[in-house]
Symmetry: C2
Subunit: 330 residues, 2 copies
DNA sequence: CTGACTTATAAAAACGTTTAACTGCCCCCC
DNA sequence: GGGGGGCAGTTAAACGTTTTTATAAGTCAG
């Protein structure tokens, strides 16, 4: 590969001049300029990004850590993040933490040592402490989606309380009073917020709340058994699945128990994704603004890169309710 | 951030010694070794990957270009690719070409200028010519999934002819003779191979083939209209959707036309993905070995990085048939 | 016509590593 | 006792840029 030296030699100028022509640094006479451009063309020169990064101390690269790229919610986020980054001249180093906190930690360190300019993390646990250290060392970090905790990191997520409230309130308005609430794990504060939204919506409607109606199914391989049991025990008239994969679980349980759907049991899901249209009746759901989440996270990070030192953000975007056919009036 | 110089100064040695301790280059006496290690710890030193890359001419980074990260087939591939790469000490620079050939080209150049060690591309078109040039310039490239063409690039994909043959043959054995074949676009050679597998399977069974039964729906936003029309015109007893998103389309069309499913019309899909279980009856499909595809592509690329100069690979993995409930015997 | 200022370009330093070349030093053997 | 040969370490070069500093030529005023 041709280097800047080759270009300089061919054009009969110094490397500084080549650099100035290419980066528009200082004035270069038209003759030399065109000589340089000509040499660049004939050699097919393209600057070595690694050398540029070393010298300029900027890699134009963002690190992105996601717990499960296979989940359409996350892959949607990745898509908008990648696009936003690309539009501003950044590339994405993508890592999959596989819902594994230790791996996530290792990945973050690896990314830092690769000198990424910034980090966007959808963490496995609430506000992992190592991230604070990275930020203290000068690496801008923004937390996405799972934004529990309150250190000085920037956070972009959804108003989970509101989301669950809206959904629950909708179910109540449709006449449901026995509402099962499916969660992955209450260890995640955003999930706790959802549970709390559910609880308070019930309370506000004067419906007694029993903690046993909040069913923890697990995050990696959610357990169908738990759902089956809960349905059989509590005989709910509706299920509110607080995660897209839990909707799947709920559907499986409903089928396994031969319940007529949605006549006997209603289902309200989370997230809007292409494949949910396979379900009949079409799934009603609380939908998160994926594009806005990604765009906002990227924007905040890039502003930090430009030196923004305002106090940490805690952006809470509202969710909307998509009413389709899976919730039946009672 | 601490640099190797700081470590050297604190430990009272030269930077070469620090490097030797850290990389196990040459013998270093136990005293100095532990002094260095101590200094590394107290400073929290972590080597600057960019400088390492510049010096060693290796970035330990792979470029990955995918047409649509949101598609579960591709995101599955990304997952296994990322994991395989990580296991061997590589990171992934992920790019989304959005099914846009021009963008794909730009992205590839950007990745090359960032000095990725190798490139894995799921191209938008058959064997884009610029990739040959990149390879000629010394950048190992492997084509994944869409492996049409026959230049000297490595290729890993599925035996599309066999896949479609197997599926069609299955439908025929179930008594179907009017089989609609849905494709995204015949511009992609892997899709043409599928169409050809379909055609020859029909032929082998002595069923006359009419090209009009192969319906092109488009790749980005596949057209429901085309499917509706084809169904109404040809009245097939089965639909074979040669792509996961086309299964979705087929389902929508079937519902729109109020056909009883699977009694009146059977459906055979492509790819196995979590969300297909939302469909009732559960979708039968020809399934691609996603993990094997990703692992093999990564393996071949890494061997090239190690200097493997054997002739180009053209790996064709077989597909399997997953029989579920969406195909009814006739 | 000389000395101070511009100006266009070149030379050199710097970014943080790895690694090849060098330097004393001690040991051993003829 | 002196020269060859590891040995353990240091010095310095190199990777390919950007950017600061230096240099030579030209311009202009006094």
């Amino acid at each position: 590969m041709a280097t800047i030296k080759d270009v300089a030699k061919l054009a009969g100028v110094s490397i500084a001049t080549v650099s100035n022509v290419l980066n528009g640094g200082r004035y270069v006479s038209p003759e030399l300029r065109s000589a340089v451009l000509q040499a660049v063309r004939t050699l097919g020169y393209v600057p070595n990004g690694v050398a540029q990064s070393l010298r300029s101390r900027k890699t134009q690269t963002l690190g992105l850590i996601v717990p499960d790229i296979t989940n359409p919610f996350f892959s949607g986020l990745v898509q908008t993040l990648e696009r936003s980054a690309r539009d501003r001249g950044y590339q994405m180093l993508l890592c999959n933490s596989e819902e594994n906190a230790e791996l996530e930690f290792d990945l973050a360190l690896a990314l830092a040592s690769r000198q990424v300019d910034g980090l966007i993390v959808i963490p496995t646990q609430d506000s992992p402490p190592y991230l604070r250290k990275l930020k203290a060392d000068g690496l801008p970090v923004v937390l996405l989606d799972r934004i529990g905790g309150d250190d000085d990191l920037d956070r972009v997520g959804v108003d989970n309380f509101q989301a669950a409230w809206v959904g629950t309130e909708f179910l109540i308005r449709q006449g449901h009073r026995q509402i099962l609430f499916l969660v992955s794990t209450l260890e995640l504060s955003n999930i706790r917020d959802r549970a709390e939204g559910y609880r308070q919506a019930l309370e506000a409607a004067g419906i007694p709340h029993d903690p046993a109606w909040v069913v923890e199914c697990g995050v990696d391989l959610p357990s169908l058994e738990a759902v089956l049991e809960a349905i059989q025990q509590h005989r709910p008239s509706a299920i509110f699945a607080s995660t897209n994969r839990l909707s799947l679980l709920a559907v499986q349980a409903i089928r396994r128990l031969w319940l007529r759907f949605p006549e006997e049991i209603s289902l309200l899901g989370f997230d809007d994704f292409e494949w949910s249209t396979l379900l009949e009746p079409y799934l009603s759901a609380v939908v998160q603004p994926i594009e806005a989440l990604g765009a906002r996270a990227c924007q905040i990070l890039l502003e930090r890169l430009k030196g923004d030192t305002r106090p940490p953000w805690r952006v809470l975007l509202p969710c909307e309710l998509a009413v389709r056919q899976s919730v039946q009036r009672r």
